[in-house]
């Protein structure tokens, strides 16, 4: 058994007490974790390190004897990443074990400097590797969290809404990359079929920049909708976007474009043979009264 393993086994409670003291001064975050929880986590980890060091090589933490430690560290890092600890706080959790361990080694091997140096080197290698492992696991957990959030955003930001019988709209928000456009296109086309719509309004008020790639994606979506028999209206084209599109030289002549969603809806109603008229509040007949409005089927386009 190596000296480190011996020390870990013999002085467990002292080591733990010192380690806890180190942690409390170096990285304590009482807002995120209470002392009891930290103590339990530390005890658990220290015990598993002790048993791994007893059975395996202390400098080879990737070996099978260390599987238990790796698993615990991964769990701890992942939970800390989610709790909101910073990466250095999480890494310091492991690195703060160094000093207590070194103190014990110095006391035990005071008479043999060569052995002391060798064991200290082993201890450094072990704690460093464990620390790096913690860091890696922390980053991985964070990346997973980001990927998951990105996925949720994709789902969130592409709702297709029915505005009227035969009219659907999709308000686009944020950056239109290839992934999102694919989802936009799919949900728009399937909603066109499901609602049997003839007009689809694509609103880009919330799209910060329209470059050639975005324009190309939009044109493809519009062409696909056209193939299914639905006409598309592009709305929400702000002045700065209009000027940029002109300078870029993108040709949107084939597409019906409107400045606002309201204009687009009016056009869509017109295209489906409906018109908005004011109604008289008292007798409910269409008239000059300004109190309300209703959508009427225009006679000439009826049944078209």
């Amino acid at each position: 058994m190596s000296k480190i393993a011996e020390i870990l086994q013999k002085n467990e409670s002292e080591l733990l007490a010192d380690w806890m003291k180190e942690q409390l001064t170096a990285v304590r975050r009482r807002d995120l974790m209470n002392d009891g929880e930290l103590q339990a986590q530390s005890t658990d980890l220290l015990r598993s390190i002790a048993s791994a060091a007893r059975n395996g090589n202390v400098t080879d933490v990737s070996g099978s004897d260390w599987a238990g430690v790796r698993e615990r560290l991964t769990d701890i890092s992942a939970s800390r990443a989610k709790q909101g600890f910073s990466p250095d706080e999480t890494a310091l959790f492991v690195f703060s074990l160094k000093q207590p361990l070194f103190t014990r080694l110095r006391n035990e091997l005071a008479k043999d400097p060569n052995a002391m140096f060798a064991e200290m080197w082993n201890a450094t290698v072990m704690v460093d590797r464990l620390g790096l492992m913690t860091f890696g696991a922390f980053l991985k957990a964070k990346e997973q969290l980001i990927a998951q959030q990105a996925e949720e955003m994709l789902e969130l930001s592409t709702p297709v809404v029915k505005l009227w019988q035969g009219i659907v709209a999709i308000p686009l928000i944020g950056t239109l990359d290839s992934n999102r456009t694919q989802i936009v296109m799919e949900s728009l086309l399937s909603t066109i079929v499901a609602t049997n719509s003839k007009v689809a309004i694509i609103d880009i008020t919330g799209v910060p920049a329209v470059d050639t790639l975005v324009a190309q994606h939009l044109l493809k979506t519009i062409t696909a909708a056209k193939l299914m028999g639905a006409e598309c209206i592009l709305s929400g084209i702000r002045p700065q976007i209009a000027q940029t599109i002109v300078h870029l030289g993108i040709n949107l002549n084939e597409v019906i474009t409107k400045a606002s969603l309201a204009d687009a809806l009016a056009t869509a109603l017109q295209k489906t043979g409906k018109t908005v008229v004011r109604i008289d509040k008292q007798n409910g007949k269409a008239g000059e009264n300004k109190d309300g409005a209703e959508v009427k089927q225009t006679p000439e386009r009826k049944g078209a």
């Binding site: 910060p208 920049a209 790639l213 700065q240 870029l248």
Partner: protein, 134 residues
């Protein structure tokens, strides 16, 4: 021309294009560009960054806030070590594309900025420098 501040942004993936766009937006606002000028510069940066990525295989963009005494402006220099452009005049023609884009990225961004310089050597890479003045 004096440089007031500069920053280098790596362009290695599609997310970097978004990051660059946000940086260009922040700097344009800092320079008090009008909304139209902001949008023009953001769109140009987006086009050129995507070219660097798709045709140059990635590279970097040097962002510089510059001043020529009377005016201040934003200069972006895109550099890649990709295959280079054999015929620059052809590449700058509207509608010409070696990929499957619209063929408007390069020519369009030239119209969105005040100054546009392009240098390319086949097999060595491409360097595009654009400036938009306030």
């Amino acid at each position: 021309m004096t440089t007031l501040k500069s920053e280098s942004v790596d362009i290695a993936g599609p997310t970097d294009v978004v990051i660059l766009r946000q940086k260009v937006r922040a700097w344009s606002i800092e320079l008090k560009f009008s909304l139209v000028d902001q949008t023009k510069m953001i769109t140009a940066s987006s086009e050129l960054a995507r070219n660097t990525l798709d045709h140059g295989g990635g590279g970097r963009c040097l962002m510089e806030m510059v001043s020529n005494g009377a005016r201040s402006g934003l200069r972006l220099t895109f550099e890649d070590h990709g295959p280079g452009i054999p015929d620059i005049d052809l590449a700058l023609k509207d509608g010409y594309s070696t990929g499957n884009g619209m063929g408007l990225g390069l020519s369009g961004s030239k119209r969105l900025v005040n100054e546009f310089q392009i240098a390319s050597k086949v097999g060595e890479g491409t360097r595009i420098c654009v400036v938009r003045w306030k």
